[in-house]
Subunit: 500 residues, 2 copies
Amino acid sequence: MAKDKGSQTKATRRPKAENPRGFRDYFGAEVTERKTMLDRIAEVYHLFGFDPLETPAVETVEALGKFLPDVDRPNDGVFAWQDEGDWLALRYDMTAPLARVAAQFRNDLPSPYRRYAMGPVWRNEKPGPGRFRQFYQCDADTVGSASVAADAEICAMLSDTLETLGIPRGDYVVRVNDRKVLNGVMEVAGVLDPADPDRFASERGIVLRAIDKIDRLGEAGVRALLGEGRRDESGDFTKGAGLGSEQADAVMGFMAARRDSGAATVARLRELVGASAIGLEGVGELEQIAELLDAQGYGADRVMIDPAVVRGLGYYTGPVFEAELTFEILDEKGRPRQFGSVAGGGRYDDLVKRFTGQTVPATGVSIGVDRLLAALRAKGRIGGETVGPVIVTVMDRERLADCQTMVAELRNAGIRAEVYLGNPKNFGNQLKYADKRNSPVAVIQGSDERARGVVQLKDLYLGAKIAAEASLEEWKSQPAQIELPRGDLVQGVRGILGRY
Amino acid sequence: MAKDKGSQTKATRRPKAENPRGFRDYFGAEVTERKTMLDRIAEVYHLFGFDPLETPAVETVEALGKFLPDVDRPNDGVFAWQDEGDWLALRYDMTAPLARVAAQFRNDLPSPYRRYAMGPVWRNEKPGPGRFRQFYQCDADTVGSASVAADAEICAMLSDTLETLGIPRGDYVVRVNDRKVLNGVMEVAGVLDPADPDRFASERGIVLRAIDKIDRLGEAGVRALLGEGRRDESGDFTKGAGLGSEQADAVMGFMAARRDSGAATVARLRELVGASAIGLEGVGELEQIAELLDAQGYGADRVMIDPAVVRGLGYYTGPVFEAELTFEILDEKGRPRQFGSVAGGGRYDDLVKRFTGQTVPATGVSIGVDRLLAALRAKGRIGGETVGPVIVTVMDRERLADCQTMVAELRNAGIRAEVYLGNPKNFGNQLKYADKRNSPVAVIQGSDERARGVVQLKDLYLGAKIAAEASLEEWKSQPAQIELPRGDLVQGVRGILGRY
């Protein structure tokens, strides 16, 4: 706008009524459906002993850790601005604020600290179809417990959460892996040197990214990336990790290590990590997680050990998990595909250390609220038509007070109702309004009805059905409209509402 | 931070674990109490036919209307930043985004459009004690209805909302006034010229501010400000509006115009506005509002006409309202004072016009969520101790799976419970943790109890009471700890929970 400064048109130009790029509004049922889902999730989290935490949307860039030393402005990816010398930014996830809180209130919080957080986060990224720059996250984390029982608990809670939301057993699975096992395999594959952890970092990055692409590239594609590299259909060449054939076998074997039972998978992983100390530690953790889950009644049909789970974020240090919906939906081209991941997380033992210098073990999960909502909609679990309010129409502007009396009676009986508040002159507009609100009943009382002490009730759903389907005879008989004594208003409206 | 650039210390300096100035975190019950309150308010709004709307936190500065033509940066008061040439900002209230939505979706929304919105807003203002730069607002507005029935409905809904939240009739009152009546009085007082509405704007500002200060300055102080001016205790002089004695009488008479019934107040106001056309229009509106509220059963004990209500915002164009809590609380110095205003609003017919050029009538209310929470706390309606989760203690790290089985049984029975996930070595730490969580019951099973097939349940509330009050005999008899068969775990825990 600054470039317009001083131009004559500016003073008279009207502002545009638009969201900023990548932001959107949510109306009616979109709001209540999400709220209902978050409420149910919160109930499960509460049952597991987690407490709510609400941090502000705004953090210092310093606390978020998104300030690069070489640039004057914060890193891309966050919305940031300068406030009297300090850089502030909108939170981009719920984990960074939790790390700040865990450090700031370390002397006051119970330890371990189980907390959940739900709310919007903001990403300064290029928006795309279905990709917004503000979206909801719903996280649960345990800070201060080094025990894998904390990881097992998060997996159990995730399983319960999905079932509570109406996703039946068999339609989802929580997959668990361990970064330490992965590191063990890296060691066996010769791209991790325990004596010099920073060495081979670039090769390990290539291996991780290759594993993550197995669904898209297939075995041969991943093998090419583990070795010299891969040329795609367009002719572009991606450099590989340079593993020899045996080393690549170790990695490929790891990804195919899943067996029918957790115990069998663990046994296979133990073979694969060989003498790697870190690998064996990881295998032991997975074994313990499987045992703890078993003790709580979570079998492999709900939570399973799956070595193919990687999870992108570099900061995970132990167990990682991912909840996947296994039912098929139709994609935009009408082809069936698995719905895929709706939640993920893992153990991150170093986040609080940034602030205090002390390692604080932590583990947690983040549910992709909007993806999960989309899944529930795809399964028809939510998203039915919402029943609108009863509309008391206005036949005579001078008798508005009578309408208010009727609407107050309905509300006092717990029935959602409103008086038509637009210009009442055109009755057709009132019915159009009722239709737009998906109103089930219109209440009508003209001077004739008032004189006779009656009201008319119009069943708008039945009326719409008849208008679409009925014969002339049915149409004339007006079964959708009934007349009853004024004193029976509430009872009559209840009767029609009972049909829907 | 930029000034540190290049300094050696920077790379090693740890970030501060702090909120930005004026922001805070909300923990546990602080979050759930607010949520419960907002849920109840939403139920009332829903019953009245209002639909939820959730707009994003971020708007263009242009849409918010906070960009002054003479400056490069947005006006003070908002948090704003530049994003690829556009200025974006955090919303500072819920009304500006509603105006944008009403303009943007004017062809799709029902008209009238009743919507409610609840969530945080942000103000780039100097924080103070109890004054934060992020706080909650909870608004309901009707856009597209010129009828004062819409204003009356908002007042009725506000009254229902307060009662639903546990504020009994008599402890609150919704006061209603009308800007048009005020303008009529201004006309009589000679500081409003209908033929030249911009004339005397500065004098009217002084009159409005003087009326708003009646509680603090008393009648004499206000009279001084209406006349030549007022010198305060410190000797500072505030210039007055320069009204003559008769003109000042008109304004003072207006403020004292409240009578026992709405009808009597309206009659008095009609005398005061004399021949002013705008004043008579306003009196007519107040009369109609009182009549509509009466028809719905809202008497003057709930909603009353009160000419002393002004409301600061310049944009109100008709009825204005304010909900006040009338009970006394003790202020920070222990003196009783009325709690005061917790919600306010009014009619603003020009906000949407900024975007479309067309006047769209609108009216609405905003509830000060945090003030209302404070009021409910002051009245003891919320804020009791929260019962924490049952804690299953860990006596033997190797038997963690047994603990998980117990906790799963409790949760499956709907009892909030968790296993202690810290280092179990020190049992005292486990009880300290249970205490910090305000846990009612600790479950204990050592190897001896396991061998005998029993568990110990410790009633922690009773235990704390005994520790504080009991004689040595009572203390030794340990009534707070019971032993029961392992199979009776759920039943036993339920028994203790039933005591609280």
